[in-house]
């Protein structure tokens, strides 16, 4: 029980975020109107994805240093859950843009680059499937993972900031924080980051444990 306090905290925070996210008074920004509430669900997905993919790449590097297969398991579980959250972030973004920009896929650079980054990570998952030898799979996919992470950061973080984008916080459009005078968005958004990230880590630990059992089965009959 003592070790599980953060799971309870995660559930409580998410309850607060969901209830608060739909009931708190949001300022009307541009043509966002009430759709601005999507921010409580859209942004944290990316935070969670970054966290998980960072865990993944750290474990990959760690694997290359130690050749410990458990590190590879960690990297792969974090990678797949990270992709899951990335896809959910993309889906919530599409939902939001339907009502704000008038289309699921508009010609927005951030959307494009994110789609590419997600494809790269899906390629990572496909690459993992194409090996039968465990050690070889671990080694090669760890190397590819480092590549993927090295491209993820410029793709989703640096390029969109340089070019014009419909997304807030790009070269031409200001972020939401300057218009959030009452601070209501911040009040829900920061717990939302924490809550969703904790949820992601929770799912990741579950998957990690399951995969470890599978590995144990393979190694010890």
């Amino acid at each position: 029980m003592a070790k599980n306090w953060w799971k309870i905290a995660c559930v409580l925070i998410l309850l607060y975020v969901i209830i608060g996210g739909f009931s708190v008074k949001v300022p009307s920004i541009g043509n966002n109107q009430q759709a601005a509430r999507s921010i409580f669900f859209h942004l944290p997905m990316w935070m969670c994805m970054y966290t998980l993919l960072a865990i993944s790449v750290v474990n990959s590097v760690w694997y290359l240093a130690t050749n410990d297969l458990r590190r590879d398991i960690r990297a792969s579980s974090a990678g797949s859950i990270g992709v899951l959250f990335g896809m959910m972030g993309f889906a919530t973004g599409m939902l939001w843009s339907t009502y704000t920009w008038g289309g699921t896929i508009v010609n927005d650079p951030k959307q494009m680059t994110t789609a590419i980054a997600l494809t790269i990570y899906m390629a990572y998952l496909v690459l993992r499937l194409s090996f039968t030898d465990l050690d070889k799979r671990a080694r090669v996919s760890a190397i590819f993972n480092v590549f993927a992470f090295a491209l993820l950061i410029p793709l989703t973080y640096i390029i969109p900031r340089m070019v014009e984008s419909l997304h807030p916080g790009s070269a031409t459009s200001p972020g939401f924080s300057s218009q959030d005078t009452a601070g209501t968005i911040k009040m829900v958004l920061w717990p939302a980051f924490l809550g969703w990230t904790l949820l992601g880590i929770w799912i990741y630990t579950l998957r990690n444990r399951y995969k470890r059992l599978v590995l144990k089965n393979i190694l010890h009959g």
């Binding site: 290359l64 590419i116 494809t119 190397i143 410029p154 640096i158 390029i159």
Partner: protein, 204 residues
């Protein structure tokens, strides 16, 4: 030098460039600027996949082992990178000449475009060399190369496409320097990662 003995591969790719461009010529005659640009980079991409992929996939296991006993993996990958860059530079120029011959010449800044093409060829070959090295480890390597390569190459192609757009119009695009910097940064990144990671790939 070794590659000269497998001359058929080299000439095969030359023929490949020629026939691809010729097919485009038959299909669309003289495309407009944007189309021309897009076509050019797609041809470039496929040439690169074909030319560079061979550098690892064609080597037999025994020969790789021989190289392994001979040199440090870091020197080996460095040699491969340099060789592929030179190869791709050559093919880039060939592709450009073919395109201009068959598809007309819509360029207003020819030299600028040539520079971009060389830079693009270098970027593509660097990335694909490393990918070929990874794919060579897997079993179904040719298909894997496409699966891994295309998402990774997309940002570079997008950048190249944007940069080369300015070769068609006399106006100067804003943010050009930034894009060049980004492209150069990516090249440096790929080289650094290749040098660091390749020794791990060779541990067998």
């Amino acid at each position: 030098m070794l590659e000269w003995r497998q001359r058929h591969a080299l000439f095969g790719i030359l023929l490949y460039v020629f026939s691809t461009v010729f097919v485009i010529n038959l299909m669309v005659k003289e495309p407009e600027d944007k189309m021309w640009n897009a076509m050019f980079w797609v041809v470039q991409l496929f040439v690169c996949v074909n030319a560079v992929a061979k550098s690892f996939l064609q080597e037999s296991r025994g020969r790789l082992l021989y190289f392994y006993s001979l040199v440090h993996p870091r020197y080996f990958i460095a040699a491969k990178l340099i060789y592929n860059v030179l190869l791709m530079t050559l093919f880039s120029v060939v592709t450009l000449v073919c395109c201009i011959l068959f598809l007309g010449n819509p360029l207003t800044h020819g030299l600028y475009f040539l520079g971009v093409v060389l830079l693009g060829g270098i970027s593509l070959s660097l990335l694909f060399t490393m990918l070929a090295a990874i794919a060579a480890q897997a079993s179904q390597n040719a298909a894997l190369m496409a699966i891994m390569g295309f998402p990774l190459i997309m940002p570079i192609l997008m950048l190249l496409n944007n940069i080369s757009q300015s070769a068609f119009a006399p106006v100067v695009q804003p943010g050009l320097a930034g894009m060049f910097l980004l492209l150069g940064g990516m090249d440096v990144l790929v080289i650094a990662l290749a040098l660091i990671l390749f020794p791990f790939l060779w541990k067998e």
